[in-house]
Assembly symmetry: C2
Homo-oligomer: 300 residues x 2
């Protein structure tokens, strides 16, 4: 990325002008971030949400849903590697996985790196997300959406989980924020439905919110998870296009990823021949669970 | 902070309009973040830089130098606790400390929490920074600038270090980014001058840049540090008003903070009766040194 440095004077902006074509995302009412669109490929309304695809210099192609940055070619690994490998490496031999949401294929791509994985079911409500991913985000999914081990279901994730009779070693909730169609999937009811789909030694991960911008949402959400799972392990990752620190959680009947040492992580990565990760390693696995004091208080 | 959520549609901005009075800071040419000023208290040019003080809803009072966010009441702890306690706790009994820059008093305030500290010398080039801190940033320095153990020197940090004959257990480089008056203090020459001021068991910390936005600056800077110190321990903290992940480094003749376990950190915090930290604890100390793969490659 071009290194601009901070030597430039950035005036307060009387009329709020930042740059032509800047896409803004608000963390709070008065704080947010922006990326300038170098080119707009798509902008339309699906039955569920506004879908946009843009190109950018700093992040490559990126897509937004209802104005929130979802995925970009260059920063997706922060999110997907930590959402997927934290539970997948903690599990000694994951075979069957379910992704709810994740139609961009980024989580599927990471899951399919584990050679014990025999099937991935992906339940995405919005076909438009899958379509734009196939068309524009090849470097994010790398063909995972069409992998023979993956079964794509275009349907509501809550209905799918409630009606399904399978059990999974790994469940990944790769959802939009709760302001839109995902809202019912941030409830104790849904989490209990997921817990019923999880094997005794399985693990489920999800992302939640920024502990800086949305502490109350985190407090409430972790409480809902604790109503559904005996083990709830919150963890933090700093994601560039989410504005910084972002909370995730790994939930299970028994499996506790905090008990998996850096050595075990490195051995499993080597044994599974997973050698191309840009972020995740044994040290970062353990480090993710190190909560700053203000976050500890939030999830106590 | 008010929880806005991401349910709002944020349109791409044709004329770049974000919000009245938004202060923007660029990470790269096309990516950055903004905070809306609720009130401007100060904006003037000192002999060295443009100085601004604003109020904001999300971050309280904040100040900027040459358009870059330096410190805010509500996020300063991310930066100051990690810049100071990582070396100060690693040192078994720090007595004499030097801060270069840091005129806002935030680093001094953290240092003075360690009961073994008998003197802090603060060499700040710009009296204006100290003046605005005294006037507006009480919650950041909490009176540290006027503590009897602190000696304030208004002078160029490089000249001070070169002419000084003292040795320090801790040196904290609490500088602006290298685009302005700090530029000469990001060189091997300056680092060697600092190394000469450091006791054999002492440690020096500094902050560097974003590994996402400015990887080349990090590579170059770590190389300069390695030309001056046998031990260079890079570490990462996610700082809200720096746009996310930010690299720091702890440098020494011998002391290696990576060898200080979480247990030792917790024991020393308890022994020193430091109980009010919002971020730093034994787990986060160790976690800061866990580098994602792409960062490991950068500092290899």
């Amino acid at each position: 990325m071009p290194d601009r440095g901070n030597g430039q004077v950035n005036d307060p902006v009387p009329a709020g002008y930042i740059a032509p074509g800047a896409m803004a995302e608000y963390m709070t009412d008065d704080w947010g971030f922006f990326v300038r669109s170098a080119r707009q490929y798509e902008r339309f309304s699906s039955p569920y949400q506004t879908v946009e695809v843009h190109d950018s210099v700093s992040f490559g192609k990126l897509f937004r849903l209802d104005g929130a940055f979802m995925t970009s070619e260059k920063d997706e690994f922060f999110y997907h590697e930590n959402l997927v490998h934290v539970p997948a490496i903690a599990h000694p031999q994951p075979e069957r996985a379910l992704i709810v949401g994740g139609g961009d294929g980024g989580s599927a791509e990471e899951l399919l790196k584990h050679p014990s994985i025999r099937s991935v079911t992906l339940a995405e409500i919005d076909l438009a997300v899958v379509d734009v991913a196939r068309k524009y985000l090849q470097t994010v999914h790398r063909g995972a959406l069409d992998d023979p081990r993956l079964t794509l279901r275009i349907e509501d994730g809550f209905a799918f989980v409630r009606n399904d009779r399978s059990q999974y070693d790994l469940i990944v909730l790769d959802l939009t924020d709760p302001g839109g169609p995902s809202k019912p999937l941030y409830t104790t009811d849904f989490y209990r439905a997921c817990a019923a789909r999880l094997t005794p030694t399985g693990a489920m991960t999800l992302h939640i919110a920024s502990p800086v911008a949305s502490p109350e949402r985190i407090r409430a959400n972790v409480a809902s998870l604790r109503d559904a799972f005996p083990v709830v392990a919150p963890y933090l990752v700093s994601v560039p296009l989410y504005g910084g620190l972002w909370m995730m959680a790994c939930c299970a009947h028994e499996l506790d990823p905090r008990l998996v040492t850096p050595l075990i992580v490195e051995r499993r990565l080597a044994h599974r021949q997973i050698a191309d990760l840009q972020y995740y390693n044994g040290d970062t696995h353990r480090a993710a669970f190190a909560l700053p004091n203000f976050v500890k208080k939030l999830v106590a």
